[in-house]
Subunit: 154 residues, 2 copies
DNA sequence: TTAGTAGTGATAATCATTATCAATAAGGAG
DNA sequence: CTCCTTATTGATAATGATTATCACTACTAA
């Protein structure tokens, strides 16, 4: 059951070391929280979750770690319009794979979707190739979000 | 030369009234600023620009107006990762048409692109149709951003 | 004109995120 | 295992973008 967490943590451990960072208990627990959830957590929400097993950890460390994870590329940072950053593991979790988002403009609910990805992936790689050449821009990642009204809000 | 501005303002005037809002001098000048530029301005940048012809206008009004414009759908609000919201006219400007963005993860430069849109548009409408049905989600708009390194930063 | 209300400017308040700094602990050398 | 170097941390103050307040002004409709 916990495999996802451990996999994520282990993989991250190596990645951390590779970048010259240390793997600490605080970072470990933050990674665990992120790999355990299927939600898009804010820094404070991560902090509360970490608190349950690691009450000595501080909020500042959550901010620092999460920012680090974004730099390394293990975590994605999103703005869903509720005035706080939200974070999500990019890979390595049992819950998550690369996906895009539907954001309800009314209730702010966020839906992950992986359907239609096959076709999207094809066009994306084509688009990325074209853009790279035309603008001499080296594309690392993309964010695709559809805004609208969810079933309960229309 | 100013056609773009006036078109935008005029169109907006009607839209404002339609939503039960008044078209004021302050709102007018904010719209003018937005339709005159090709940049992605922050609230404070808009304020400084408005100040040149309208020194009595306040920053709070810029925030209020710009948020109003987002609700109405005339303006798009973006997060390019520099800790402030940036705004851009959705339509009706000589400078702008619907487009997507390349964001440099290093220097934070933002490039508008409209190339490849034809193919993207096709897939997008297909994707939107599928998502709408599957999730019973009514899609109003989308945000597509590619992150990476610009020519000067790689 | 007049009452009712939307909009405004100044500014205080909010609150997510950062910076500071002394104390702590990861992890390599010996 | 012990010691040393220094990255990391927790507490907390500071920052800064965005919002809320409020008294006042400008529309608008009758
Ligand atoms: Mn997601
Ligand atoms: Mn743009
Ligand atoms: Zn909703
Ligand atoms: Zn750059």
């Amino acid at each position: 059951m916990r495999r996802g967490c451990e996999e994520a943590s282990d993989g991250c451990h190596g990645k951390f070391r590779g970048f010259g960072y240390r793997m600490t208990l605080a970072r470990q627990s933050i990674l665990d929280v992120l790999s355990r959830t299927s939600k898009h957590l804010s820094a404070e929400e991560i902090y509360h979750e970490v608190y349950k097993t690691h009450p000595t950890s501080g909020l500042a460390t959550v901010y620092r770690t999460v920012e680090l994870l974004v730099q390394i590329g293990l975590v994605n940072k999103f703005d869903f319009g509720d005035n706080r950053a939200r974070y999500e593991l990019e890979i390595g979790s049992e819950h998550k794979a690369h996906h895009h988002h539907l954001v309800c403009m009314n209730c702010r609910r966020v839906i992950d979707y992986t359907d239609f990805i096959e076709e999207e992936v094809e066009l994306l790689s084509k688009t990325e190739k074209g853009l790279s050449k035309k603008y001499n821009f080296q594309i690392k990642k993309h964010i695709i979000q559809f805004y609208g009204l969810c079933d309960k809000c229309q």
